[in-house]
Symmetry: C2
C-alpha cells in the first residue's frame, strides 16, 4: 500500500487532548438525570441504566488500572475521524495498562454477531492515524437490536475476555448501544457498552453533544467545492449551479455550507416543512433570485439543496405514501411500459395527490415509478432533486419570459456532493475531537461506566480547555413511532428555526440572493498553516457558542 | 466581499521566481526556428513572425526601461493561476518602471474588441493574489480571428497608449495571438503580442511547454476527490464508482489522476482510438476487473473515464456524423415522440452505424437524438458517459451471471468532476509557475518581443532553477483541417502512448485492476506544510522529467 506524502505527514500528527485528560483523573458525578421525555416508560424500559448521573473528568491522584480487553465497532456510514476515535481508545488503554488489548470487530455490528474481529496492534493503529475512512476495520449497517445478537456478542466477548464494547455510530447505533448495555446489566453479563457520536449529517446533537464527529470535515470539503464552483460561475458569468448536498434527515450540512460559502439560494428542509411549502414555492424562491440577479446583470449563481428536501414536503410525503401502496398492487406490477404505468397511477391517485404528481417533471415522475427499494418503496434518495428543480425553474422562467417579467438567459449545471466528503482526511478539529472522544471512552471504561456516551464539550474553545466526560444515553432518549411501533430512540436534532445559525442565515439570505460579490471561497482544508486557517470551527458551532 | 481565512493567508504568499529573473537580465538568442510542420506554408502565412529564435533570459547589466502600457486578456475556460499571471505581469512592469500601466480587458477577447477594460491598480492586484478563478477581469470565448476585430483592438490600444497585449489562453487563443502579432507587424502597428500557455486539460504542451498552467491544481483537486471516494468504497465495500473527468480533447487529466490515485480501471481515449476499440471493448475491460475483484472478494472499486471518450471511438464518430446529417433533415424534425424518432433513425442509418446505435443504452440513444447544440449537432459533451458505462457493464454482468461466469453483486455510483477544479486556489506550483510566466512576459515585452509565448522550463526542479524565456509561437504550429479548411494551429498534445507517463500506467494497471490496497489517498492541496506535500509536481511531469 503506497502512502501519499500527505498521509505520511499526517501519521506523525499528535492529536490534541483536553488538558484534563493529559494527567491523572477522577470522575466527578452530577445529579441523576431524566430522559428528555416519556420518563415513566423509559424508566420501565431501562431499569438498570435510567437515571445515571452526568459525569465529568477532573484532575485526580495517580492510580493504577488493571489490564482490560475492549472491542470496538464502527457502525453505519463513514465519517472523517473514525480511525482517530480508535487510536484514542488504543492510546488511552495502553497508557493506563500496556497489557490491555483492543479488538476491532470487522464490517460493523455484524462483526460482533458473526465473531469476525482482529486485534488492533500498534502497527495497525499507527498506519491509520489521522486518516479518513473506516477501512481499518470496516463498517456496516446491521442493526444490533435482537437478544440473540446480544447473546452472540456476549459469547465472543467471553472468549476474548472483552470487558467493554465501544460503538461508534449515529443516533440509531447509540440507541442500540444503550439497549445492549441495559440487556447485559439485566443478564448480569459483565460487559460495559460505551457510545461515541458520529455522523456527518449533524443530526446527533443536543445540549450535551455539541457536534458529531465528521460534520466539521465533510462540511468543509463540500464548502471547498461549492466555493470553487462559485468562483467559476463568477468568472464565466453564464451558469447557475444547482448543488445537492448529503443530509437526508436534516439540513445541517446545507445550512453550514451556506454559512461558509454564501450562495444565492439555500433551501433548508426544516423551514420548508414548518411553512408547509410546496415544490412550487421552492421554485418561486429560486426563480425570484434568478430574476433579481438577471435584472442586475448577473445571469449566474448558486443554489444549495439538501438531499432530503422532498421528504420534508407534506404534499410530496402524502403522494409518496399513496404511491407506495399503488406500486405494491399486483395490478400495477402487471402493467408494461412507462405510459401505461403513468396512466394507471393517474387514474388511481386521489385528487390532491394526482395534482402533485402532475406537477412533477416527467423524468421525475418516471423515477418515482421505476426506482424502488427492496420493499417496493419509492427510493427518494435516488431522486435527482437538483435536476428536477432546474427543469421546473426553467419552465417557470419560460412563462415569465412570455409575459415579459424576465428577459434573461438561464443555463444551469447540476451537482451532487456526498461520497466526496465522508472519507476525507479529518480536519485538525475532527482529528483532535475524535482522538479525545476515543481517549475519553477508554477512561469511562476504566472507571467502570456503561450505557454512557463519550462526550467532549466546550468545543469552540481550544482543545486544552475542552471538558471531557460521559452522558447517560438514556437521558437523551424519548419514545418515537417507527414502522408502526413506539420505540425508545435518541431524539434526532433537526435544524432549529429559532437557533442562532438559522437565524443568522435568514438575516443574510436576502442580500445573498441578489447582490454580487457575496460568495466566499474557503478553499481546501489545511493542516499545517496559521491557526485561523487550520483550526477554524464550523460557523454553526461558533454561532451556537456565542451565547 | 468577505475573504475566507485561507484567502487572507494566501494574499501574503510571495510566489517564487526563477533566480535569473530576480536580478537584471539580458536576452540570449538561439538559432532561427522552423515550425513543426508545413514550413513553406507557415513561412508564407507568417512572413514577419516566422523563423524567430528561441530566447532565454540570462543575468545582465542593470538597465532602465521606459514606461510601457500593457493590456491583458483571459481567454477561454478558467484555470487555476490566471490571477497570478496577471500579478506577475504587473509586478514585472512596475519594477522596471513604476510609471508603466496594466489594463485588463474585460470578459475575454471581446473586451479588446468592444473596448471594455479597466486599469489594474495595485489594490485590485493585491486583492486577487494567489486566488483561483478569472473573476478579476473575467474571461470569454470570443475568437480573435478577423481583421476588423484586430483593427478595433488597435484602436483602443492607441487610445490607451498600449504597446503590448498579453493573451492568456489555450492552443486556439495562442494561435490567434500569433495571427494578431503577425497582422500588427504587417500593418506596421506598434503593438506587441505575447501568449501564455493555459489549460487544465494539459493539451497545450510540447518540447518547450513543459506544462500548461492550471493542470497541476485541477488534477490535484480531482485526485483529492477520487481518493476520498476510493477510501469510501474501501470502507463500505459495496459500490463501484464510475468517475468522469474533464478533458474532452485529450486524456491527460485522467492519466494524471490515475497515476495519483491508482484506480482499478482508467480509460485513456488516445489508446482507445489507437487500438480502434469499441464501447463493447471498453465494457469488457471494466467488466474483467469487476469479475476478477469479485472473485477475490472485493465487490467495489473505481473507474476513471475521460470526458471525451466517445469522440475517440471511430465507430461512434461515424455514427455521430451520420446522425448529425439525419437530425438536420426536415423529415426528422417533423417527427413527434421518442419512439417514432428512434424508428426513423434506425430505418435511415447505414448498416454499420445502425448496429452501433442499437448497442447503446436507450437513454443514451435518446440523449443523442434530443440534446443538440445551436448548429443542430449532437452535444457529445453532455452525454453522461459514466452512466452509460454503468448501464452497459451492468447488462454485461447480468449475462455473465446467467452463464455462471460471475456470481457477484454490482452496485455503482456515477460522478462527474469538472467545474470543481477549474477555479480552485492555485497550488504552490501553479502559483509560482503562473507568477513567473507573467513576470517573464513583462520582460519579453520590455525587450521588444512579439509573437512569442512566455515560457518557463526545468519545472521539475525547484523554482530557483527554472529557465525563463520565450518561444516563437509559429515554431509550434502546423496546418490542420478545421471546419473543412486548412488553417495554421498550434499542434494539440494528446497523451503519447510511447511516453513515459502512459507506459508507467500500463506497467501498473493490471495490478491495480485486481489487487486490493492499491488505492492512494492524496488528500486536499496543502499550501503551508512540508515541501514534499506542498510543492509536489504532477506525476506526469516527474515521469517526463526522469530522462
Amino acid at each position: 500500500m503506497i502512502k501519499s506524502p500527505l498521509e505520511k505527514a499526517r501519521m506523525s500528527y499528535q492529536p490534541k487532548l483536553p488538558n484534563v485528560l493529559k494527567g491523572s483523573v477522577k470522575l466527578s458525578e452530577g445529579k441523576p438525570t431524566e430522559s428528555v421525555a416519556n420518563q415513566a416508560e423509559m424508566k420501565t424500559l431501562f431499569p438498570h441504566t435510567y437515571g445515571l448521573p452526568i459525569v465529568e473528568f477532573v484532575a485526580g491522584e495517580p492510580k493504577s488500572y488493571p489490564a482490560v480487553n475492549v472491542g470496538v465497532i464502527l457502525s453505519g456510514g463513514q465519517a472523517p475521524g473514525g480511525h482517530n476515535v480508535i487510536s484514542g481508545i488504543f492510546d488511552g488503554l495502553k497508557k493506563a495498562n500496556p497489557a490491555s488489548k483492543l479488538y476491532g470487530f470487522l464490517g460493523g455490528p455484524s462483526g460482533l454477531i458473526d465473531h469476525k474481529y482482529k486485534e488492533l496492534t500498534v502497527d495497525i493503529i499507527d498506519s491509520y492515524r489521522n486518516t479518513g475512512g473506516f477501512d481499518m476495520i470496516g463498517s456496516g449497517r446491521t442493526k444490533l437490536e435482537k437478544t440473540e445478537q446480544f447473546d452472540k456478542g456476549a459469547e465472543i466477548c467471553k472468549q476474548l475476555n472483552i470487558k467493554a464494547i465501544v460503538i461508534i455510530g449515529g443516533d440509531d447505533s447509540n440507541t442500540n448501544a444503550c439497549i445492549l448495555a441495559e440487556y447485559y446489566k439485566q443478564k448480569n453479563i459483565d460487559i460495559q457498552v460505551i457510545g461515541c457520536p458520529k455522523t456527518i449529517d449533524g443530526d446527533l446533537k443536543n445540549e450535551m453533544i455539541e457536534t458529531s464527529f465528521g460534520f466539521d470535515t465533510a462540511a468543509k470539503v463540500y464548502s471547498e467545492l461549492i466555493g470553487n464552483i462559485q468562483r467559476d460561475c463568477n468568472s464565466s458569468r453564464k451558469y447557475w449551479h444547482f448543488i445537492r448536498l448529503m443530509g437526508r434527515s436534516a439540513s445541517h450540512i446545507t445550512l453550514e455550507c451556506a454559512l461558509q460559502t454564501q450562495p444565492n439560494v439555500a433551501i433548508i428542509s426544516e423551514e420548508v416543512e414548518a411553512k408547509n411549502q410546496s415544490l412550487s414555492d421552492v421554485v418561486t424562491q429560486i426563480t425570484d433570485s434568478i430574476v433579481e440577479r438577471a435584472n442586475a446583470g448577473y445571469e449566474f449563481g448558486s443554489v444549495l439543496i439538501p438531499e432530503g428536501l422532498l421528504e420534508f414536503m407534506p404534499k410530496i410525503k402524502m403522494l409518496l405514501s399513496e404511491m407506495n401502496d399503488l406500486l405494491a398492487t399486483p395490478e400495477f406490477q402487471a402493467i408494461v411500459g412507462d405510459e401505461a404505468q403513468r396512466n394507471f397511477i393517474l387514474l388511481k391517485l386521489s385528487h390532491e395527490n394526482k395534482a402533485t404528481f402532475e406537477s412533477l417533471p416527467l423524468f421525475i415522475a418516471k423515477q418515482l415509478m421505476m426506482d424502488r427499494d427492496a420493499h417496493g418503496n419509492v427510493q427518494v434518495s435516488l431522486i435527482e432533486t437538483e435536476k428536477m428543480l432546474i427543469e421546473m425553474v426553467g419552465e417557470r422562467l419560460k412563462r415569465l419570459k412570455e409575459c415579459g417579467a424576465y428577459t434573461g438567459k438561464f443555463s444551469a449545471m447540476a451537482h451532487f456532493f456526498g461520497y466526496e466528503g465522508r472519507c476525507a482526511f479529518p480536519s485538525n478539529f475532527d482529528a483532535d475531537y475524535c482522538y479525545s472522544i476515543g481517549y475519553n471512552a477508554s477512561l469511562l471504561i476504566l472507571e467502570g461506566k456503561t450505557a454512557y456516551m463519550s462526550i467532549i464539550r466546550n468545543c469552540c474553545k481550544s482543545a486544552e480547555e475542552w471538558i471531557a466526560g460521559g452522558v447517560p444515553v438514556v437521558s437523551m432518549m424519548n419514545m418515537e413511532r417507527r414502522n408502526g411501533k413506539d420505540v425508545p430512540v435518541i431524539r434526532k436534532a433537526l435544524v432549529e428555526l429559532e437557533g442562532k445559525p438559522f437565524k443568522f442565515f435568514v438575516s443574510k439570505r436576502e442580500e445573498w440572493a441578489g447582490a454580487n460579490d457575496t460568495f466566499v471561497f474557503q478553499g481546501p482544508i489545511q493542516f499545517f498553516g496559521p491557526s485561523e486557517v487550520c483550526d477554524a470551527r464550523t460557523k454553526t458551532m461558533m454561532l451556537e457558542c456565542d451565547k
